[in-house]
Structures are given as structure tokens and as C-alpha cells.
Amino acid sequence: MPVPFEALIPLGLITGFFGVSGFFFQKLKTSINEGQPPRFGLDRWDRVMLDRDYRLTGTQRGQAHETAAPSAFSTNSAWNLEKEHL
């Protein structure tokens, strides 16, 4: 009996939809994270370090290995802008 090729059409469609959406989702994730995979399993330490990285470099996932922090680092903390809670 010949292969029922009509049954493979929806299989191909579903695979194609999965593939295309997965491809675009991967591209979106890496473009947000500047070409790297996203971070996961972050605890409080990691979140605070990520915020510090952003203050040091200006980008979300940028890394730098300078000796001294730029002079803006001492004043660019967002906590200084926090409104008073009375």
C-alpha cells in the first residue's frame, strides 16, 4: 500500500509552526540579552548584581573588568530618587 502522503501534510505544518515560532522566540530572547542566552534561576544576590552591572556598564548584560568604577557609579543608584514614604 502506498504511503498516505496526505497525512504528512498536517504533520509538516505543525512542525513548521513549532519551528518558526521557536526560531523567532530564540532570536527575541538573544536580542534582549545582547547575543547571550537569558539568565535563569536568579535569586536576590543575582538580581542585585545584575542591577550593579547595569549601573557600571549602562547595558543590561554588559560586562567590564576595569579596576576602578566610573565616577558616575557613586551617584547613579536609583535609590536616591526613591520618593519619601510618610
Partner: protein
């Protein structure tokens, strides 16, 4: 102090800080971000052991931030000193290792090869060795095979 939240209720528009400027100038801070620090963590631990222990003991006495500023500045200076030395001697290997860490969610297990070259470079140039305290048999970073032992 029980939960951490990011600064979210911030003022909008132009903001002028009403608090007066501090009496002394701002001290220099370490300029390395999280991945280079994680990569050099064990070397910072062994190089700056005395200053770190001083700071931790001081904090144990009194957890007030103002109490341990002097020890904190020593810790910062020691770390900056080591970063300068690493930049002079082993910059390429360090960069390779921390870039690998950034690609793998900053997990050590995924980047053993660049770590090996970096550790060899640091040992030959700066005489610092990575030691995992309390490791039982072979430390995990020296095992050839981590799956079948």
C-alpha cells in the same frame, strides 16, 4: 529589611538631591561586573583573605554600615589591586573565562576548559591557586570526568 525590592517609586522629571554632599570625597569602587568577579572569586578569596576576614569579624560585632567603613575600604582596595594584577598578566584568559560564564548562566560546571587555562596562567604568573575549602576527594574543578567517577 526582610524583602528586597528594586527602587520603583522614583520621582519623575528633574530631581535635585536635597541631602548635603558628604564631607569626604567618594572612595573608589571596584569596576568589575559580576562575571569577571565570579571568575576571579577564588583568587580574590585567597589574595585578600586577611582583609576579608577582618571585615567579616567587624560586621559580626556590629552590623551597622557606618561601623565597618574602614575595613570595607581595605577590602575594596585589595580587590582593586588584584584586578590590576590580573589585567596586567592574564587578561585574555580571564576574558575568555568570564565570557564563557556569561553564555552559561554563570555556572562554573559549563566552563571548565577556559577555567583551566585561566587557573594555570594565574598560578604561573601570580602564584595563586584555586582551593575549594572543605573539598573531600578530588575537587570538582580538577576532575577529568564529572559524570562517571
Amino acid at each position: 529589611m526582610s524583602t528586597f525590592r528594586e527602587a520603583s517609586h522614583i520621582t519623575t522629571g528633574k530631581f535635585v538631591d536635597p541631602t548635603p554632599a558628604p564631607a569626604e570625597a567618594a572612595h573608589p569602587e571596584v569596576g568589575a561586573t559580576s562575571a569577571p568577579l565570579k571568575s576571579a572569586a577564588f583568587f580574590i578569596g585567597s589574595y585578600c583573605k586577611d582583609y576579608n576576614e577582618d571585615f567579616m569579624l567587624c560586621k559580626e560585632e556590629n552590623n551597622d554600615p557606618a561601623h565597618c567603613l574602614k575595613e570595607g575600604r581595605k577590602v575594596t582596595r585589595c580587590a582593586m589591586d588584584l584586578i590590576t594584577k590580573l589585567r596586567e598578566n592574564c587578561e585574555k584568559e580571564w576574558e575568555a573565562h568570564y565570557k564563557c560564564l556569561e553564555k552559561h548562566n554563570q555556572e562554573y560546571y559549563a566552563c571548565r576548559k577556559p577555567e583551566r587555562t585561566f587557573n594555570e596562567c594565574v598560578f604561573s604568573k601570580l602564584k595563586l591557586e584555586k582551593v575549594i575549602p572543605g573539598a573531600s576527594n578530588t575537587p570538582v574543578h580538577l576532575r577529568e570526568n564529572t559524570i562517571y567517577n
